[in-house]
């Protein structure tokens, strides 16, 4: 096994890194400290995904033998148990561990499934049943703020996106003439809503760690919306304008904050969308291929220049 212990010590001697950081890294290299955080995170995610899939199948089969009331009550109890653990940790003033985080996520997912099932059984909202997704988004949003959980915030954003009709399936993008324009418009409005949410979070003193979650979701949903509009013949111009605006905003954000992911969004999404668009619009084979090649090379160069800019700034 390769060890970087000597290199860590060298960096410390040169004053490139602080003593405690170098000592911690050297301890990690020696194996005197060994964190299984990522392994646990992976195992917990797999477990939560299995339980959620199982609950989804259980609800889909309706379970006439058990009856909806019992089923809803059992799920509500299970969710309450998950939330109770998180609440207890909060009241004790302790920091929630990764296990507690995922237990809370499971609780949120059970609430989502339970409320959806209850609505489908009792039709409380009638033909306006879609509003249950907004109720869910609000509930998960308030829980995320109350318990300071980024994972629950993700479920809230997913519920909000579902309310806007965004399913997260790539196939809907290529449904030209069908729902692609509607999907694109809704995605752009959803991304705008998330940016307003982020601004409110900042202004009202919300957790700083929530901002990056909101920004990443807003960027991705926004770019998918612009992509959907660009791929639909009637709305290409609007799509292109939105794509350019989003790319400029992303790259500006990357340059200002140094977060490379936004430079990746701003260049990769644009390069690949333009390639697709050129293939749709231009008929002559060689010309379109050369143009696409130039677009991809330009995208790569732009991304590389951002990398160099970040290096120079550092």
């Amino acid at each position: 096994m390769h060890s970087l212990e000597l290199e860590c010590q060298e960096l410390e001697k040169a004053g490139v890194v602080a003593g405690p950081d170098a000592a911690q890294a050297a301890a990690l290299e020696r194996g005197t400290i060994f964190s299984v955080f990522e392994e646990l995170r992976f195992a917990l995610y797999a477990a939560v995904a299995a339980i959620t899939a199982g609950i989804g199948l259980l609800l889909k089969d309706n379970l006439d033998r058990i009856g909806p009331i019992t089923l809803i009550a059992v799920l509500a109890l299970a969710a309450a148990g998950c939330y109770a653990t998180a609440l207890r940790t909060q009241w004790q003033g302790k920091e929630r561990s990764i296990g507690g985080d995922y237990l809370l996520l499971l609780g949120a997912l059970i609430v989502s499934a339970d409320l959806g099932y209850a609505e489908s059984q009792f039709h409380w909202l009638g033909t306006e049943w879609q509003w249950y997704l907004l109720i869910l988004a609000a509930f998960h949003g308030s829980t995320a703020y109350g318990l300071r959980s980024r994972l629950v915030l993700c479920t809230s954003i997913a519920a909000l996106a579902a309310w806007f009709g965004i399913e997260g399936r790539a196939a809907t993008l290529f449904n030209v003439g069908g729902s692609a324009v509607r999907l694109g418009t809704h995605a752009i409005v959803c991304a705008g809503t998330l940016l307003v949410w982020r601004a409110a979070n900042r202004r009202l003193g919300g957790p700083e760690s929530f901002e990056s979650v909101l920004e990443n979701f807003a960027a991705n949903i926004g770019f998918w919306g612009a992509l959907a509009l660009c791929l639909t013949p009637g709305s290409r111009l609007l799509g292109l304008v939105l794509l350019a605006a989003l790319a400029a905003a992303s790259i500006f954000k990357a340059l200002r904050s140094g977060e490379e992911i936004f430079a990746v969004y701003g260049t990769a999404y644009v390069a690949l969308t333009l390639c697709w668009l050129e293939a749709q619009v231009i008929n002559y084979g060689l010309a379109v291929l050369l143009l696409e090649l130039a677009t991809v090379v330009a995208g790569a160069l732009l991304l590389w220049s951002f990398h160099r800019h970040a290096a120079a700034r550092a």
Binding site: V17, S35, L58, H123
Partner: protein, 338 residues
């Protein structure tokens, strides 16, 4: 460079002259560059296909290789993604040009060799793992099998994959000059046993199921012990992947329906992981469940996307009518699929 990357000081003035001018972007940017490189490689091949159909692959292969070498030697790119995509694409294009496509086995051997060569030149663990997977395909084809739809068992390919994983686990105890060599062995020990299992998993014969279950179980146990003793992440990940294979082979142990199996086994896994998390909050022999150092942005991003993906997209609406036309912004887009 690896140590500097760990501290996120790769661009520090003290580091830059000591890396010989080599530069590498972050993991996320590397992925984006790789995708752009693959697209550029494909487009270059398509351009040559229009210009000269007979020698398109030869010309494209040479062009891509020259471009990749130029990026590496002149621009000093290392693990930047784009040069990796171009180098591999160029070599694969040359292989497709020179190796007759009629012989499946010959092509599989050539692809395996080319990927291994690319992995060594670029020090890329992903390509080496692909090379071993292609070699297992060649072994299976050498046994007279076609790739799909054969009733016979791909014993040789499966054993090769399990063997490759076990050897990688064994070799990882030695000290290598470069961190990249460690990464290569790490990828092999995680992915190859999984490939071996996939070669044999479709077989319903009890002996094969017991054999693969046992092989995966033994591998998981050994990997767990090795991972804890060496304080290494890759064997632990290999253990988790092998345990997944064991769980799949034990699927008929009870007569419970799938939904209940998922809930019961998922709950068991959740409780086990949660218990381990609590137990290791106080470090035991240096092992802790706390996050040490800064987290990885890519893993955080994957976690957020994963959490969002698990959320239901809409309620199971058996009776409620679908609101066509979207209904403004009041959620009319939600389509009732669960």
């Amino acid at each position: 460079m690896a140590a500097a990357a760990r501290f996120k000081v790769r661009n520090h003035p003290w580091i830059t002259p000591r890396t010989g001018g080599w530069s590498a972007p972050s993991f996320i940017a590397r992925c984006a560059f790789f995708v752009l490189g693959v697209v550029a490689g494909g487009l270059t091949t398509a351009v040559f296909e229009i210009l000269s159909r007979s020698a398109a692959l030869l010309a494209a292969g040479v062009t891509l290789l020259v471009a990749a070498e130029w990026l590496m030697l002149r621009k000093r790119l290392f693990h930047a993604g784009v040069e990796e995509a171009l180098w591999t694409g160029g070599l694969l294009a040359l292989t497709a040009y020179f190796v007759p496509s009629s012989g499946d086995r010959g092509l599989a051997v050539a692809v395996a060799l080319v990927l291994a060569l690319a992995a060594m030149r670029l020090l890329n663990p992903f390509l080496l793992t692909l090379a071993f997977a292609a070699a297992s395909v060649a072994i299976d084809l050498a046994g007279g099998h076609r790739l799909w739809g054969e009733p016979d068992v791909a014993h040789a390919a499966g054993i090769f994959c399990y063997g490759a994983g076990a050897i990688a686990l064994l070799l990882a105890r030695f000290q290598f000059l470069r961190p990249s060599h460690d990464h290569m062995l790490s990828w092999l020990m995680v992915i190859m046993p999984l490939c071996g299992f996939l070669w044999l998993a479709t077989q319903q014969a009890p002996a094969v199921r017991v054999g693969t279950g046992l092989a995966s179980g033994i591998f998981a146990l050994v990997a767990l012990i090795v991972g804890i003793r060496r304080r290494s992440h890759a064997p632990l990940l290999a253990c988790m992947a092998a345990l997944g294979c064991v769980a799949y082979q034990l699927r008929d142990l009870t007569t419970l329906p799938l939904k209940l199996k998922l809930i019961v086994w998922g709950s068991a896994a959740l409780l086990a992981a949660w218990g381990l998390d609590r137990y290791l909050r106080t470090p035991r022999r240096g092992i802790t469940s706390h996050q040490v150092g800064e987290g990885t942005a890519a893993l955080d991003l994957m976690q957020w996307v994963g959490a969002g993906a698990l959320s239901p997209k809409a309620a199971p609406q058996a009776d409620a009518p679908f609101k066509g036309g979207g209904g403004g912004f009041s959620g009319g887009g939600a389509d009732g699929r669960y």
